[in-house]
Symmetry: C2
Subunit: 328 residues, 2 copies
């Protein structure tokens, strides 16, 4: 099928950029040095490509992601990098499942649910989950007392990973990983799991990096000057052209994650996004029926709106992949 | 099933508020005076409730919504209030389908696709679709020349509908409807279709109002002082409590439309939303495992992330409805 036969809006992955991103990351962080985060793409077909590139272990953010990855034959080493208060569904997954814990309740939930392995989630500076660094050993002891295997520690330097300035990213990452390696010394285990696309080549303390966005990228991450290319766009159709100088395409709030702001359109200024529309001022005239590429500001919540992604190259749809890990 | 047995995050509809909203709107705009917009809820089960309250005609924003409504037996009078450049799928729908047109291309697409009826979409002040008011009659003539029935005019005063100040809403609505009624005098037809929840009792020029949000509401519309109650919330579970004073629940960017800003949590201040988390400072202590209600800022893009909505009352799940009109 040719790209111009797709109904719009449609999520496109540029195969050249995709291959470049896959190869660049695999060269920098080969094999188990990378634990790709599937929350960015929610797509087992894409995860199979990452596995084929040598990354066998994966990071998940939801129970549904863990279940879906295992069902797709990718359950060799799944880390749910998130806390759950009911691990019953996790305990039923056919595969190796490790879950993050940061409290007595979440440890007890893991044990009760039949999960066998955990990592101690340590807060390293971002206001989200994770225990205080000096509490990690207390929780590890409790987990072991409950019969759980403690594989190590986890800490997410998300407050560093999104900073545009590399020296600031380096500084905050070093501080965060100072806390995490200290906790690891107390806790033990093989894993120091941390990191993100924005710190993939900065975080040398972690035993594995949980990057996800690198494979598709978005306009927010594009500002960091990383060697990964924008692979993801939303193909849209111009449905209206105004005599006031603006045009409207059929790609709106239900096709785009908006928490990082408006999307970009090459050669145009985006002025408004509504439920099913993007209004933009093109530098050169456009006509009703023209197709444009809309670049999302944030990849993860964009993809979660779509049923499918299309891998494309040279005008052709090469493969169509289900976004099969949506929901919870 | 009791509410506390639901996996989280889960979309809840308070049945008391829902019934109030349905009755209040039906009293204000009975029968065909309201053409409920299904884009707000994307749920045929909910639309059946609106039909049972007397509203037989519906407004849609996407072809998928039109197809799904007809397939659910709600195809008596469906208006696609949006432009399409390929109406082939619309022409195949078993039901009465009317589509908005604002250009020669979209008129030709309607005729070619086998759609029989159109409304002329007129720009009444918001930078989106719609022809210039004085071009409406030219387009109506062309549509009739192509064998299409022109049912009237459409104009969306969206720039007025979201203003907090009622007198400003009234002023801009009057100006917008001045343009639309003038175009209608030129074009003819039975329909002057316009309006929104924010102007449902202000827009007395339109023959029918396209309100959608009224039935569930959100925190953005709550600021307008309308007689509709917040019926929609996202049920979430506290998964982490920090010694720094904040807590984290499992309701993030993939469970919330964020274009109108952060959600609200009663008795708490929301400080951060990430992919699967909301971090908040509670006024009273919360514990891991507690359940909280998160109120979205914008109903439409929130619902589009969810597979199901649950109608709840007195601690019980009364009905579970599929969000079956998602996608395109």
């Amino acid at each position: 099928m040719r790209i111009d036969q797709l109904d719009t809006p449609a999520l496109l992955i540029d195969s050249g950029a995709f291959d470049h991103n896959l190869a660049t990351m695999s060269a920098a962080l080969p094999g188990s040095r990378l634990r790709p985060h599937v929350k960015a793409h929610k797509c087992t077909a894409l995860a199979h490509r990452q596995a084929a590139a040598g990354h066998i272990g994966f990071t998940c953010a939801t129970i549904r992601e863990v279940e879906g990855m295992a069902a797709a034959g990718l359950g060799e080493d799944l880390l749910l990098a998130n806390e759950v208060v009911d691990a019953t569904r996790l305990g039923r997954v056919k595969g190796r499942v490790t879950v993050a814990v940061d409290s007595e309740n979440t440890i007890d939930a893991a044990a009760k649910g039949g999960v066998k392995e955990v990592v101690i989630d340590v807060n390293v500076g971002m206001p989200r989950c994770g225990c205080a660094p000096d509490q990690a050993v207390v929780l590890a002891d409790r987990a072991r007392a409950r019969g759980l295997i403690v594989r190590g520690v986890m800490g997410y330097e998300g407050h560093a990973a999104s900073l545009d300035d590399r020296s600031q990213r380096e500084q905050l990452t070093a501080m965060a990983m100072g806390l995490l390696t200290k906790a690891h010394a107390d806790v033990g285990g093989d894993l120091i799991t941390a990191g993100a696309t924005g710190t993939y080549d900065i975080n040398t303390w972690a035993s594995e990096i949980q990057a996800g966005s690198y494979i598709l990228m978005d306009t927010a991450y594009a500002k960091l000057g990383l060697p990964f290319r924008q692979a993801l766009s939303v193909l849209a159709t111009v449905i209206s052209v105004s005599s006031f100088g603006y045009a409207v395409a059929n790609c709106g709030l239900k096709a785009l994650g908006m928490d990082h702001g408006k999307p970009d359109i090459a050669g145009a200024t985006v002025i408004k996004v509504s439920d099913e529309h993007v209004t933009f001022i093109p530098e050169q005239p456009v006509a009703v029926g023209d197709r444009i590429n809309v670049l999302p500001a944030h990849v993860d919540p964009t993809i979660a709106y779509h049923e499918r992604m299309h891998l494309v190259g040279e005008g052709e749809v090469l493969e169509s992949w289900a976004v099969d890990l949506r929901g919870w």
